[in-house]
Symmetry: C2
């Protein structure tokens, strides 16, 4: 299987990656209604035929894109130092206030009304959600066998999601930082 | 000004109200892309001309609709008994998991990419957000002069928003209730 690591496969993988990154940027900027395979192909500098070879449908492209970037972010999170709980909480909240969350939100909201998208995004969202929870537990050094700890961490991720939504129309960074600082204190007590 | 309370004005007010309620239901079910004045007029059993007399543009209709229902919900909240903090938190969270939140979310996400909608929805969202915060403070008997109390309440509302988002694709009521119970305990400590 040496060919799988040959120059042709490298090019194919690079093309795929360019398409996925362009798809996330497109979704974040233009929403689901403005996001098509053609628009993304042009943005990525890839022919439409090549784009459709990698991703036969619009749904394939955009669910793969959100999943790809979510995995990249998870990888980055795993390398965070875990000594400083406040920094960990801030990094987790940041996950929900950047372009990835914005892209995922558009996909999520579109899926709630589109039958073709709904089952795939529901499944993707559950998987990404479980992954985020697992990483958060690990980074926070949370002992989930203690009563309330699991729910405290879940509530933190729900709050982060709500903060991300608040950021969609207004940059409310100052307010967000105060809220995060206070809930980090409360979480600290809950986690022990 | 007796005419303002006459039967003609009553009919006009009733028509307006039917349009607003139909608009919220339409937005929640079909999203922004599927929501037009014509669709709402038909749903409300109102002629398109009459609908356009009340709401000249699509933006007028849907921002008014979200505002109208938000005010109805605020009125309902103000009548809640405030003895039981857990019941208050549950009622606040419920605000973010029903059709109104779903409708508002569609409008919100659409506004992030549509210049015609964005300033109006940003202003509406800020107003509704301030109102929800004020009601929450009052119902929870929170003393905002104490350090951290304001941010604790804000974080609770952000969490409620995040829980509402999680509900969009999956009915996760059981998980939500456990998270809310735990966060109510943490909030209780913070509010004293």
């Amino acid at each position: 299987m040496a060919a799988l690591t040959g120059p042709k496969q490298d090019r194919s993988r690079a093309t795929r990656q360019r398409l996925l990154e362009a798809a996330v940027a497109c979704l974040a900027e233009r929403g689901w209604a403005g996001s098509t395979v053609a628009v993304v192909a042009e943005r990525a500098g890839v022919s439409r035929g090549a784009a459709q070879h990698h991703f036969p449908t619009r749904e394939d492209l955009f669910t793969a894109a959100v999943e790809y970037v979510a995995e990249e972010r998870s990888q980055a999170l795993r390398t965070l130092p875990t000594q400083d709980r406040r920094a960990v909480v801030a990094a987790l909240v940041d996950l929900y206030t950047g372009p990835l969350f914005r892209a995922a939100l558009h996909l999520w909201v579109a899926a709630s009304n589109e039958e073709q998208l709904r089952p795939r995004v529901t499944e993707l969202e559950a998987r990404v959600g479980r992954d985020s929870h697992r990483i958060a537990v690990q980074l926070l050094g949370a002992d989930e066998s203690r009563p309330g700890v699991r729910e405290s961490v879940q509530g933190l991720l729900d709050m982060a999601r709500g903060l991300g939504l608040a950021t969609l129309l207004t940059d409310d960074r100052a307010r967000r930082e105060r809220v995060v600082a206070q809930w980090t204190r409360l979480l600290d007590e809950a986690l022990g």
